[in-house]
């Protein structure tokens, strides 16, 4: 026998059903002037907490949607802000390179710096120009600001550049406004002056004022004359009264480079290219 079929035939159930049925029909028959207050009363009493819950859920959903939109906008802005300065900086550098190329006129090969994540990248890095483009070892590598380094080895497509920060870097240099000459070398591999250069072998009787621009002298047959190396920032040491060593702030840091120019051998090491560099390329 089905579950409780006998008991479901009770008169109370039938009467209750008929009562509800009748009330429903009566509700349908109510005029608007009666049904509206009833509906309003139900909404403001029994249904009020449920409607509030529904409203809060809607607000929560809307807030969540707005939050997602705000987060997306913030992420987009952050991403744009991340790339914008780099793009601007790269554009400035490319325009500077174009200007330098115009002033150099000939005898150079532009190349892109292929940065690597290693911490030693500022000492030696790869550039995207090699033997096929006429690059040869010991070619000078410059940027619009000044001397970057020298080509250490050459492959078919790429070259290895030894920068001024490398311990083996040396360059014959002179002060741009005086006849002071010396040898430029990295200041050291430790301490606060790790990214500075020093002008060694300056005769004791000659002084180099702070802010003096140091350029390549052209002696030695490697670098053309007149490439800015950096700016004197102070005295590093004195050696027993017969020579002085000056600290130089380099014209450009290797890690800040994106593109460089490799001066080809056709130019000749004895030429003077001082005029190719902007006067304000080395900031005092």
């Amino acid at each position: 026998m089905p579950i409780g079929a006998d008991r479901y035939a009770s008169r109370a159930d039938t009467l209750l059903f008929l009562g509800c049925f009748g009330l429903s029909v009566a509700a349908m028959s109510l005029p608007d002037t009666w049904r509206d207050p009833i509906a309003q009363g139900l909404r403001q009493t029994i249904l009020a907490p449920f409607l509030a819950l529904q409203q809060q859920t809607g607000l929560l959903a809307a807030a969540r949607g707005r939050y997602d939109a705000v987060v997306a906008q913030r992420d987009s802005a952050a991403l744009a802000a991340t790339f914008l300065p780099e793009l601007r900086s790269e554009n400035v550098r490319l325009r500077s390179l174009l200007g330098l190329g115009t002033r150099l006129g000939w005898g150079y090969v532009p190349a892109e710096v292929l940065h690597q994540p290693e911490p030693t990248n500022p000492l030696t890095f790869i550039v995207s120009a090699g033997r096929q483009k006429g690059i040869r070892p010991l070619s000078a590598v410059v940027s619009p600001e000044g001397l970057v380094g020298i080509v250490a080895s050459v492959d078919a497509q790429t070259s290895v550049v030894l920068t001024w920060a490398h311990p083996e870097f040396r360059a014959s240099a002179i002060a741009s406004d005086r006849g002071v000459s010396g040898i430029v070398a990295p200041h050291g591999a430790a301490g606060p002056g790790v990214w500075l250069l020093e002008l060694q072998g300056v005769p004791y009787r000659q002084q180099v004022p702070e802010g003096t621009v140091i350029v390549t002298s052209g002696l030695g047959g490697v670098y053309p004359r007149g490439i800015p190396i950096g700016t004197v920032v102070g005295l590093a040491s004195e050696a027993k009264g017969w020579e002085r060593t000056y600290l130089i702030r380099p014209a450009i840091h290797p890690s800040a480079l994106s593109h460089v120019m490799v001066l080809t051998g056709a130019r000749g090491s004895g030429s003077d290219i001082r005029g190719a560099f902007q006067p304000d390329s080395v900031h005092p």
Binding site: G4, A5, R7, D13, T14, L16, A39, L53, A61
Partner: protein, 165 residues
């Protein structure tokens, strides 16, 4: 029947009521989203007597009419009939089976919509056909699906008790 069974049973019903006012609005088109409130009524009718089911249907229907005054009374009538018929038919004809209960949920939802549409007289012609042949079956299906899941998860809490009454 243990006292805790009653509370758990009410907990399931209250959960469905809360879902109706919180989740349903985010489940897509209002015409096809599952009707948690009607589902709570139908689950209630599984174990309640027809008279009480009719009364519960009347109350739920009247409350829903308060939210849709355009068909005031039609919801109360529809839910009263559905509650009474569901409870009566469940006891007389249907075996205790999840799929059978799913069919009950489907039929109950569709019948409710039919009665509301006919009793309110608001729709006619093509609109009535679309409602009864397209949207109502879809809503009945979604409601039945939710009902099956609910019984599958909480079947032990809402099971019919032979010793009841």
């Amino acid at each position: 029947m243990r006292k805790t069974d009653k509370y758990r049973y009410l907990l399931v019903l209250m959960g469905l009521v809360v879902l109706h006012f919180t989740v349903r609005g985010r489940l897509g088109d209002d015409r096809i989203a599952p009707d948690f409130l009607l589902l709570a009524l139908l689950i209630y009718t599984i174990r309640a007597q027809p008279g009480r089911s009719a009364a519960a249907g009347f109350v739920i229907g009247l409350l829903r009419d308060a939210l849709t005054p355009a068909s005031f009374g039609a919801g109360a009538l529809a839910h009263t009939l559905v509650g009474y018929l569901s409870s009566w038919a469940k006891a007389v004809f249907f075996a205790e089976n999840v799929l059978v209960n799913g069919c009950l949920f489907f039929a109950g939802t569709w019948l409710r919509n039919l009665i509301v549409l006919v009793a309110s007289g608001r729709l006619g012609g093509t609109q009535l056909g679309w409602e009864l042949l397209v949207w109502s079956p879809i809503q009945s299906a979604t409601t039945a699906a939710v009902g099956i899941v609910t019984l599958w998860m909480f079947g032990g809490w809402v099971r019919v008790r032979r010793a009841e009454g």
